[in-house]
């Protein structure tokens, strides 16, 4: 009983917010068509052995879904400013149900981002075996877990004014160092990138381009970040709602 309808309407109202919906789905799509569309004929992109259409689809799936997850924070910051979070605090809604609704909403948006980019990829001639589509999708969904927690933490730590720049900067930085746009082959950035969840998310996206699956390191790093960021989100939420 507790929280099911709340979760459903969280998702419904996110989809109804047309500007948010169109922009968060549309932006990765536009980027994709602009970048990959112009090189659609390139069958061996920069010596990667895969087409530009496939390479950029993989990159934009990890970038777009990462943005989808973190944008939860912007919605939370808005709800806090509106006094809605306080209103929820005087209902029996448990913090677990609250988190579940936020995470599922973020995953719903990420799922749509994945689907729309796959379709766009298919339009530009990407074709993969069914098993590879599925493996890639599954691993991306797991790789998004730390970002779900990060979005919630940011929403409860930052306000409406600061969350925009923070989100933009963080997503850009994580994507860059994580090798979402172009492979970071060696050196300090490469080593740093390997410690970040965005690297493994990008690797998941690049399964389709022939990258190897995670291995133990990847799973551990994703699990570690999920635990740490979930703890941070829980702390931020409690601090926020117990405030004066």
């Amino acid at each position: 009983m507790n929280g099911r309808l709340y979760t459903r309407y969280e998702i419904v109202r996110t989809f109804r917010n047309r500007r948010f919906f169109v922009l968060s789905l549309g932006f990765p799509l536009i980027l994709y068509f602009v970048i990959a569309g112009s090189q659609a004929g390139d069958k061996d992109f920069s010596g990667t052995g895969v087409s530009a259409a496939l390479f950029y689809m993989a990159g934009l799936v990890s970038f777009g879904t990462m943005s989808s997850m973190i944008s939860t924070g912007a919605r939370i910051a808005g709800e806090r400013q509106a006094g809605w979070t306080r209103q929820l605090r005087i209902t029996p809604l448990t913090s677990g149900s609250y988190f579940r609704a936020k995470v599922l909403t973020a995953y719903a948006m990420a799922g749509l981002t994945i689907a729309s980019l796959y379709i766009a990829g298919a339009i530009l001639g990407v074709s993969l075996p069914a098993g590879q589509w599925l493996e890639m999708t599954g691993l991306i969904l797991v790789g998004l877990l730390p970002f779900a927690a990060l979005g919630i933490a940011m929403g409860h730590l930052l306000n409406v004014d600061s969350i925009g720049p923070a989100m933009g900067g963080l997503v850009g930085l994580l994507a860059l160092v994580g090798g979402t746009w172009f492979p970071v082959a060696h050196g300090f950035l490469h080593d740093l990138g390997q410690c970040l969840p965005s690297y493994w998310l990008a690797r998941a996206g690049h399964l389709g381009t022939g990258a190897a699956p995670w291995g133990a390191t990847g799973w551990l790093i994703i699990a570690g970040w999920t635990v740490v960021l979930t703890a941070l989100a829980g702390w931020a939420y409690r601090r926020d709602t117990n405030r004066v």
């Binding site: 507790n2 917010n17 209103q87 209902t91």
Partner: protein, 312 residues
């Protein structure tokens, strides 16, 4: 379980840029189940802070609050409490009926959503999106969200602030009907008239302390005195002051000003003794002045004494 609300030694101090600001300075309050209590006071009296602590939104620095024998948080989790906070807008992109329905779904024993929509005068707006409502409609929806919880304790923090005259009348009517179901209601207001018309009991706060607590009639007699002005020549001031219902008298030439604890008795006594009094005017409660007087001296040892002085 039947303990109602017990507040003991409740204290809260905020730390602001200008140092420590005491918001609530050790209040004791006991509310029986089924009572309708008005928390009366000017801005900055500590009403909202008290309510936030009662709802578990703010942790007290000292003292305790129990709601039906439980901590505020436990009472909220058990669905015993419904509240309308002082500030707050609605989340967008839901229809009014959907939003009230979500709230209902969070409580163990909610009221029927359509019944609440009818009670709060939202029938015509039930399918509108929440971000397209007027200020008055938004307040009605916020009230509906508190009501649909069917709470044993309904807490309303200055609920009528953004409402128009019709909205206020409907609101209080619905609130009283709800209270008649045996529910406990606590509302904050800075209007004596609202407290008088809608509560059994008024608790008056000023500067973080309770300065008066009693039936609204009693509070009114203490602070809500009326003033009679009349033109009347040749009567001694002391004689006027001794009239039934009059607590103080002044005269300036033929102009007579009577401060009355009970203006009904005073006007009868005045006309009986002095049928030639003319240009008679009765003006209402001087609550604002009482508040001003109380807030003027921040270090008053005993605000209640000040209050009594003002009332006199």
């Amino acid at each position: 379980m039947n303990a109602g609300i017990q507040i003991q030694g409740l204290t809260k101090t905020y730390r602001g840029p200008g140092g420590e600001v005491p918001a609530v300075r050790g209040i004791d309050l006991s509310i029986e189940p089924g009572e309708t209590v008005a928390l009366l006071g000017p801005n900055g009296a500590g009403k909202s802070t008290t309510i936030d602590m009662l709802l578990g939104l703010t942790q007290p620095d000292a003292g305790s609050v129990t709601v039906f024998g439980q901590t505020p948080r436990e009472a909220v989790d058990a669905g015993l409490v419904g509240g309308m906070l002082q500030v707050g807008s609605l989340i967008r992109d839901l229809a009014v009926r959907e939003l009230i329905g979500v709230m209902a779904s969070l409580y163990p024993d909610p009221l029927d959503v359509d019944e609440v929509i009818a009670l709060t005068g939202l029938t015509g707006t039930a399918n509108q999106r929440t971000h397209k409502l007027s200020g008055g409609q938004t307040q009605r929806v916020r009230f509906a969200m508190a009501l649909v919880a069917n709470p044993a304790l309904l807490v309303l923090d200055e609920p009528t602030v953004a409402m128009d005259v019709d909205g206020r009348r409907d609101f209080w009517l619905t609130m009283r009907r709800y209270a008649e179901r045996g529910k406990t209601v606590l509302f904050a207001t800075h209007y004596l008239e609202e407290a008088d018309a809608n509560a059994d009991r008024a608790v008056m706060m000023a500067q973080g302390r309770i300065v008066a607590d009693g039936p609204t009639t009693e509070i009114k007699a203490r602070i809500g005195h009326r003033t009679i002005r009349a033109t009347l020549g040749g009567v001694d001031r002391d004689e006027l002051a001794r009239l039934d219902g009059v607590s103080a008298a002044e005269r300036h030439g033929d102009a007579v000003i009577l401060r009355c604890a009970d203006s009904d008795r005073a006007i009868r006594a005045l006309l009986e003794r002095h049928p030639d009094a003319r240009d008679i005017e009765i003006t209402g409660a001087a609550l604002e002045e009482a508040f001003l007087e109380l807030t003027r001296d921040p270090d008053a040892e005993d605000p209640a004494a000040d209050l009594m002085e003002v009332a006199r």
